[in-house]
Amino acid sequence: MKILIFGAGNLLLSDEGFGVHVVRYLEQHYTFPECVELFDAGTMGILATHKIEEADWVYIVDVVAVDGEPGAVLRYGKDDFMLNRVPVKLSPHQAGVQEMLLVSEMRGRCPAEIYLLGVIPVSTAPGSELSPLVEKRLAEVADALVVELRARTGLSLPVR
């Protein structure tokens, strides 16, 4: 059983880097066993397909640009991707995560469970810091993810 936490985003564009910041926060605050991999994916798109295929459960953390309250966190599951119900093409980069997952499914290697945790950004202006509101979500999303993983897997994931 392998769990992948896939932090996507561009660190140079403030809230755009949310996913990467979450991965770094988790690294700093918790201890993970080998079966949980924290992956700083940057903005790789389809080049990261193999990372996803190697895991059984995947949590993608990213920003989503949908209508709604900035700072809100949305959650999507595998069916949402496969049936094209994620209301964003996750990224304008390359082919997008939906095509990537569909290709994995065709190869018979799509993970059993895959989730997208997406925050609606306040700002994607050039800068290496998160906006105050999204900064607040960072710990909330990361801590909630740890609570969920503990409950579902029985792993202890101790605080550092």
């Binding site: 140079l12 949908v66 082919a95 290709v103």
Partner: protein, 561 residues
Amino acid sequence: MATRTITLDPVTRIEGHLRIDAEVDNNQVTKAWSSAQMWRGLEIILKGKQPQDAWVLAQRICGVCTTVHAIASIRSVEHALKAAVPMNAHYIRNMIMAQHSLQDHIVHFYHLSALDWVDVLSALKADPKKTAQIAQSISDWPGNSETEFKAVKDKLTSFAAGGKLGIFSSGYWGHPAMKLSPEVDLMAVSHYLSALDYQRKAAQVMAILGGKNPHIQNLVVGGVATAINVDNLATLNMERLAFVRTLMEETQAFVQQVYYPDLLAIAGSYKEWFKYGAGVTNYLAVPEFPEDSASTKFSLPGGIITRGDLQNVRPVAGHSDAYLIDNIQESVAHAWYGGNASLHPWKGETKPDYTDFKPDGKYSWCKAPRLAGQPVQVGPLAQMLACYAAGNGRVKTLVDGANAKLGIGMGDYHSTMGRHLTRGMRACVMADLSLEQLDKLTANIASGDQTYANPVEIPNGEFRGVGFHEAPRGTLSHWMVFKDKKIENYQAVVPTTWNASPRDEQGAMGPYEAALVGNPVAEPDKPLELLRTLHSFDPCIACAVHAVDPAGKEITRVKAV
């Protein structure tokens, strides 16, 4: 017939956000505008930072080309301080660069551009047995079996029945410009699926050699921080290097037996695309893969080609070539930046001044780089032409072979298909050179050389440097000015800035724009032909924003006026 304007916004299957406007008359493009729709803030973020740390941030400029920006950035500091790099460090960097190129070219061909030529739905009609016969006639790849092709066809059929193929919505299935047989379509779709395994092997090599992928960790000014100890298990040892060799050989086999034969088959079926898409035929490539410590000798030569003339190529002597360094300027006459002056990158300014899209005024976030005042095309085509003109044996063999097989001549390379063909050749060269560099590294270690870096302290005072790199998409340069250990100015002139450039103050079009003029457009509502020419450049407008499409927005807006 009335003139129609087609707007593609954004162009899909590329990195980043590109808008193209094209005027079409009698099913032919008469004018075109290329507009980068994103603003890159890297130059501003780097001001005031320490020069030796810039590469860490610079590789976040783009999600795919992380490595290339790291290399160009570190080279700019080494150039400024005239720092020599030990051979072990060169070999390790060279392998990382070559493997990154392979990953990029494989993904570009299969995942970002093949569907411009391959009709996925047509593959549903293919006979797997005939497909296997065709595939086996062009290659002895073990995966080309009837069983394999049947499995892919069955999978496609079940996905189509479940309505799941709609996800490839940017594909133009059934378009009259699609002309492969169903069998060749099935072969290509099958290889599209397996190609992912080989781009991964290249990524694994980068992770082993660079400490991490994406975002390598092992660079230092004056070398690499990689610890190599042939006997120590915790470092890059002989066992890891043997694994690297296996991965490189597997990727080489895929390129030689799958990618390149598929490319030749597709090129042979679409030979008319050797007649379209030339555009700007001035080319630039810098030499790459340093073979000596002072970076004066290289595995592959560079060159400056003017108006397609391969007889009178101006050599680029090295990464300190004075003519090249002195003659690059960036124009902002049609770009959303303040002022109208053309500036040398060391004096470059980044002052955003957005005005809306004005075809006769400013219309892009991309500046217009010019070499001695002329627009220039960069990329594998430029590099392979420069190598061919310089008599490089490896490239000459590939070019002569392709010319004989396809019945084409050197004039046909200035085209949409010429760009695809030379990218495939470049992949073959990169696969071979990767292994050659590994042999050289192991031989050098065996000879007792244990140096991986010449540590360099950044001194007080003012310095300027440029780091060139012949990257997968073409010539990349990072220009840095630093004073008393702080960056004063930073400018990245990336391959796509050359190719996606807007017009300059003379009104001369950039390579994308010029290449689109004269392209056929069979159905203006489905401008597949424009995508073919654009994708042939491997566009990468990344360098910026990552999540932009609001809910419900069409992926490609086609506007007919």
